[in-house]
């Protein structure tokens, strides 16, 4: 990947890591194209694709009209016929206008054709509440995709993963829903940090008392909670919901006997429920305390920064819940 990022600049922003990952993907494989609204000349509404158009040209970096159903579906059709598209859905909330190609086409056509069709497409989409973007621009819907057989669901929380998981997603022969968190775009980190394959969770912080499973922007808050102590938290960055690395989670909870799941998505019928249900079943006898979840309450995201702030799990709430778990038994 050195081609895309100068060796000396190990400390880069999440957004630059995404850009580097795409640059490498487009450079290393002539079948890779980037498709989306203003991803080209404009460099992306958040600047994520800056420079790619000038570097690779309009054949590889393709601007589209505001026609998600059309261009997401076209990306799926292109993936069936030899290209490996990265298609951007500007806000995750916009899947409301282009779900069919993801739900009924990309996720199912390999299966329905008994493997005759391969669909290597990456659906890049961005989420991240906490910027007063309002109820239609703040949703975390990863649970929807994880519920659909045939889709991988990847959520990089670190700068290194932003680049490496994106690259792995492009190289993957399957449809991948790649969820970026806007709140992390400006965050800096070491892009050469210990790489892990797609499908493996990372123990971001070792600890003994409570296992905390999370992903996306909540990772930082969980780490901050771990810093607060006194309980010793083992923080696991899941990195992908599909594949779901339960081994790493189970192994940790077996040691700690306690599990707290933290995510930005709405808690009810959310992604944490699956992890809670599995651990509750597999570690029924080993659990010292009930599995707890911290997610957003069941309300749309309000515009007001004050109201919004109060709805997302804070490091305070995370550490308080962890302490409470430890106190319970």
């Amino acid at each position: 990947m050195s081609s895309a990022t100068e060796p000396q600049m190990a400390e880069i922003r999440y957004i630059d890591a995404l850009n580097a990952g795409m640059a490498t993907a487009i450079e290393e494989d002539e079948r890779v194209v980037l498709i989306g609204i203003d991803v080209g000349a404009g460099g992306g509404i958040f600047g994520v694709t800056k420079g790619l158009f000038d570097r690779f040209g309009p054949e590889r970096v393709i601007d589209t009209p505001i026609s998600e159903m059309g261009f997401v579906g076209a990306a799926v059709g292109a993936a069936m016929t030899g290209l490996r598209p990265i298609v951007e859905i500007m806000f995750m909330d916009f899947v409301g206008v282009c779900m069919d190609p993801i739900l009924n086409q990309a996720a199912k056509l390999r299966y329905m054709t008994a493997g005759a069709l391969e669909i290597p497409v990456v659906f890049r989409m961005q989420t991240g509440a906490g910027k007063s973007a309002g109820a239609q621009h703040s949703q975390s819907l990863e649970a929807w995709f994880a519920h659909i057989p045939g889709l991988k669901v990847v959520m990089p929380a670190t700068v290194a993963d932003a680049r490496d998981l994106l690259l792995e997603s492009v190289r993957d022969p399957n449809p991948v829903v790649f969820v970026e968190n806007r709140r992390l775009y400006a965050s800096k980190g070491d892009v050469e940090a210990d790489p892990l394959p797609l499908g493996k969770a990372r123990v971001a912080r070792g600890g003994d008392d409570v296992t905390v499973v999370t992903w996306g922007q909540m990772l930082r808050r969980c780490l901050a909670a771990a810093d607060e102590g006194p309980a010793s938290l083992e923080v696991i960055d899941l990195r992908s919901l599909v594949p779901l690395d339960m081994e790493t989670v189970i192994e940790s909870v077996r040691r700690s006997g306690r599990l707290l799941i933290v995510h930005e998505a709405v808690q009810d019928f959310g992604p944490g429920a699956e992890i809670a249900a599995r651990v509750g079943d597999e570690l029924f006898d080993e659990l010292r305390t009930p599995v707890r979840r911290l997610g957003a309450p069941s309300v749309p995201m309000p515009f007001s920064p004050d109201l919004e702030r109060a709805l997302l799990p804070t490091s305070k709430a995370i550490s308080a819940t962890a302490q409470a778990l430890q106190a319970e038994g």
Partner: protein, 306 residues
């Protein structure tokens, strides 16, 4: 128009200064469309608008204080701080809301047209949308429905040349929205979107047609987005001189010139109107600044009704 100009000019500054959170999209330079349409509607008519809807709301008579307070995310805002610039709404004024999903205003306005028709209310529903939204399936489906059901729905396309960073003429082989309306058998007309009188006349006619049960009409208003897509957009994609040329056609100056020419208003009067608009907005700002944020409980209310 003076009010819209004053409102958005200040909102743009307030956003830059961090006093207004979230995303803000201004319609500076497009005021004639909002004013021309708004003034042609009946008290009880409906409008459904977009992310760029401040002008449409103000032209419908939306309360300036309540609207500014909403942009400031105050508890006394029209939506109690839960909507914001992209979602400001006031059904009591027939404003079904700004909407952050491109194209969404169209099916909603079709639905409002259904209500009016089936309940025999003679109300007109206006869908505002940009030329970029025309490439959304929602436009296509909604236009066809309005046509086959002969609904009292006016499709007002504000063709301001750009969709975000892209020149919309490069994203279709048929940049004329009026031509595309033919696909649905919907009569349509192009108007100078910087001439409030022209927009107003067209809308009066369209609304009359609707009330006569003659079905939908599409108005393509040619205008220009002075500012960036969002406040803060540096607009490298705009060609040299284009903005300047359009500012020559400032809708406020166009109508001012005409009013003076026909002696329908004196320079002093126009001056006063502008000044009053400015004061109206300033007082709304002062008020909004003093208001408290929403009661924390607000976050949990209005999810369901009973």
């Amino acid at each position: 128009m003076a009010l819209i100009r004053a409102f958005e000019t200040r909102v743009s500054e307030l956003y830059r200064d961090g006093e207004i959170p979230g995303f803000v999209h201004t319609s500076l330079g497009q005021e004639a469309v909002a004013a021309g349409v708004g003034g042609a509607l009946r008290e009880d008519d409906y409008i459904a608008t977009t992310h760029r809807g401040h002008g449409h709301c103000l032209a419908r008579g939306m309360d300036v204080d309540g609207m500014m307070a909403e942009l400031f995310a105050r508890g006394e805002g029209l939506c109690h701080g839960k909507g914001g610039s992209m979602h400001v709404a006031d059904p009591s004024q027939g404003v079904l809301g700004a909407n952050a999903i491109v194209g969404a205003s169209l099916p909603l306005a079709v639905g409002a047209g259904m209500s009016s028709k089936l309940l025999g209310q003679g109300r007109v529903a206006v869908a505002f949308f940009g030329e970029g939204a025309v490439n959304q399936g929602a436009f296509h489906e909604a236009a066809n429905l309005a046509a086959i059901w002969d609904l009292p729905t006016i499709l007002v396309c504000e063709n301001n040349v750009y969709a975000e960073f892209s020149d919309s003429r490069t994203l279709t082989r048929v940049p004329s929205i009026v031509e595309r309306a033919a696909s649905y058998g919907i009569e349509a007309a192009i108007v100078d979107g910087n001439d409030v009188n022209a927009v107003h006349r067209r809308t009066i006619d369209a609304a009359a047609r609707c009330r006569d049960g003659r079905g939908p009409f599409l108005i393509e208003a040619e205008t220009y987005r002075w500012h960036g897509h969002y406040e803060g957009d540096a607009q490298p994609y705009k060609p040299e001189g284009e903005s300047a040329a359009w500012r020559e056609k400032d809708p406020l100056e166009v109508s001012a010139a005409r009013l003076l020419e026909h002696g329908e208003a004196s320079a002093e009067e126009l001056e006063r109107i502008g000044a009053e608009a400015g004061e109206r907005v300033e007082s709304a700002i002062e008020r909004a600044r003093e208001l408290p944020p929403p009661d924390p409980e607000e976050a949990y209310t209005d999810v369901f009704g009973d």
